[in-house]
Symmetry: C2
Subunit: 484 residues, 2 copies
Amino acid sequence: MGEIIPHWLTKQAELSPNRIAIEWEDGRRVTFHQLKTRSQQLARKLANSGVKKGSHVAILSPNSMEMITAIHALSYLGAVIVLLNIRLTAEELNFQVKDAEVSHLLTDDSMLETGQKLNVNVITSFTMAEKSAEKDVALQEEINLDDPFTIMYTSGTTGFPKGVVHTYGNHWWSAISSALNLGLNQADKWLIPLPLFHVSGLSTLLKGIIYGMPVYLFVKFDERRVHEAIMTKGITIISVVAVMLQRWLHIMEEGERPDKLRCALLGGGPAPKSLLEKAKKRNIPVFQSYGMTETSSQIATLSPTDALRKLGSAGKPLFPAQLRIDKKDNEKIGEIVVKGPMVTKGYYNRDDANRDAFTDGWLKTGDLGYLDEDGYLYVVDRRKDLIISGGENIYPSEIEGVLSGMEQVKEVGVAGKGDPDWGQVPVAFVVPRGKIAKEEIYRFLQQKLAKYKWPKEIYFVDALPRNAANKLVRHKLLDLMDQT
Amino acid sequence: MGEIIPHWLTKQAELSPNRIAIEWEDGRRVTFHQLKTRSQQLARKLANSGVKKGSHVAILSPNSMEMITAIHALSYLGAVIVLLNIRLTAEELNFQVKDAEVSHLLTDDSMLETGQKLNVNVITSFTMAEKSAEKDVALQEEINLDDPFTIMYTSGTTGFPKGVVHTYGNHWWSAISSALNLGLNQADKWLIPLPLFHVSGLSTLLKGIIYGMPVYLFVKFDERRVHEAIMTKGITIISVVAVMLQRWLHIMEEGERPDKLRCALLGGGPAPKSLLEKAKKRNIPVFQSYGMTETSSQIATLSPTDALRKLGSAGKPLFPAQLRIDKKDNEKIGEIVVKGPMVTKGYYNRDDANRDAFTDGWLKTGDLGYLDEDGYLYVVDRRKDLIISGGENIYPSEIEGVLSGMEQVKEVGVAGKGDPDWGQVPVAFVVPRGKIAKEEIYRFLQQKLAKYKWPKEIYFVDALPRNAANKLVRHKLLDLMDQT
């Protein structure tokens, strides 16, 4: 049986009733006491429409106060929350609500129309839910860390998406692991420019509850407003993906220094070295990290003392986590395999996938990487993104890293394309900054990259395909060829 | 099944190999890497004398590097460690080693003679153990948090002492709970002037491993040397009991301020208000706390923001803990009852005691206290120390608190004495500072305390009975009457 702790929001509301829990970019603020009171009220209203312990309730919403209240309200009822990505089509959403056996759907008012297209019994907007009467039900006073709390679908390029089940314990251990790594300061305030339906956003929201720390929320990333918040609102930590950091750096004025920021936690895949070097020049403490939905956010992070010495590494596995590389003896790079109490116990209703992915508590991540002689992790690529060209392994991220070092390259993505001679060849998609010729790019590559790694084709595009967390979606790159 | 984490010392040695793990008052220092290497070597040597997973191994030692190495060595073998109090008589020790089914005893060289009087099969001093050859055995690479790690005996005034079993998880959760309360700073260094065979000392030793934080160790408390360490060695946190704080304050020079010290964690029973006020004047951030062996160190602590507003309170239960007062409706004070993952699962081989003490995971502490209107805990007394005089409840700590406010009173203890008229009456034992007459004491009490609470007898003594953790042992006070 799992460990039992008091309900985390009730507890934090007892410990720090008047401390700010949530702060929005537009100035709205909510204390832990207010957040608890509202969430408990909403829980009693949702109980009225039949939500109870074990119900599977989906939420379809951009970041909003109502969404946060709903997440906690559902935990007070002991319901399992299915967090839906608002960018998906009705067909994709229908797959997920069916797969996760969702009985109730809660939507942001703006998403109600989309929501009504889904095959769910009870469909309610936040405003409709607020209008319900409160039912006199017992709310959860304790949390059993073994109980399931959320289900999030991983994109999965082969086969159908899989629902990652997170227990309360997975989220708890993720928060604790991060605290042991980053430390816990009284003055901390963590900025989330990421969607709460992704684990990166949700995990930070829960860290706020567990640490008693205010989180500063954006509905969506905007580099100018994020920059202003960092410079004037006492932000000490921010979660970002590479492209956000890039955009932010691009608009920073010469000489500006975000003095209070003690950590820019960088997730969402390997970052180009040139970006890390730019951030270093600006005194921005970038902590490269490695994680995925299955690990309830980062499972490895480069610690402050090593940030400069091991540029480009995702660091070491967090204190309660283990990580090894599954590889042949004569190879350096292999599949990253992880274990720890923040790792999901499995995919919802997918015995086959679970049998494939888990062995004795170890999860095969599908990512490729290596450990250097000091045990630092370098993530190379998704295994499925690996390009095998004439028997040689080519890593798209390596080519992207080199190309993004060019001043005229704003963003770049590389993917493997089928080739009758070589099996596969790399192809690059470049969002240029100003004017640039392909010849210039090849001239730049001459000194930097072995010729067999050069992209055989280069396309100039307006934007790269990214998911809601702003992560590059490599498997959609080749679709861009038709548009150019 | 419990959560699995990597072995904590191996892990910290990987994360922070060159960071100082242990620093001694005489200047000796050991890094996490060195501590791991030595502990693993000693583990292989101990394996040679038959120690293996599940063995019950007692340690009889004052604080020493060898003792620390032995604690970790035994965890690498998966043995259960019985920590013996070096002040006990051979008879008392024999009770414990028999009760805990100890197969091996490890002693400090200075304690070998005492050790040899005990009924244990294999008795080895640290030096003898170091001379063994190393056996090629597999060492624990992981820790299952549900596995038992240590057994410590509680003094227990009625009946025989009981062995409190701590799992690895109990210690883990204690460390995490404390971090969520006190924060985690990169610069932290925690001073332990307490014995490692008590939970107060051992828990801090383990916090050091889990946080990656140096601990600064004393063999025994000495106010002048502790003062010097605090002023010159970058100490940020110190664990103390009231009498240590008192002695330290007494030797501090006017105007001295321990600037780096961010927390003096005060345990070991209620502290007199006058002491807390003195500390406040000196800018010493005293965090009053409440805990016991059964809760693996503090389970409630007064947080920094409330330290001044709620002087005398032990604060609120730590984040993962729950606490309530078991009392009749019309009463304010009742028995403190606690629950949480840091609370022991039970006493070793004591089904009866466990049935009495535990209900649905809640532990009856035997302590009396109340919660104020804001939910802050005030610990009044041990239930067994309560004096019932003519039907009135009299709390020794209240009388002690008042008397210790007199400049001429260095230390004071109060106990109940049988009385034919009143059932019990309070009797005070005073260690005076300079000269003082009993009349002066009663004059002092006139304004401060209702007459029925006045001690019926006052004895002047040279010292009060204290245990190895320097806690007042009230039930031995009355023995002093014969000596005066």
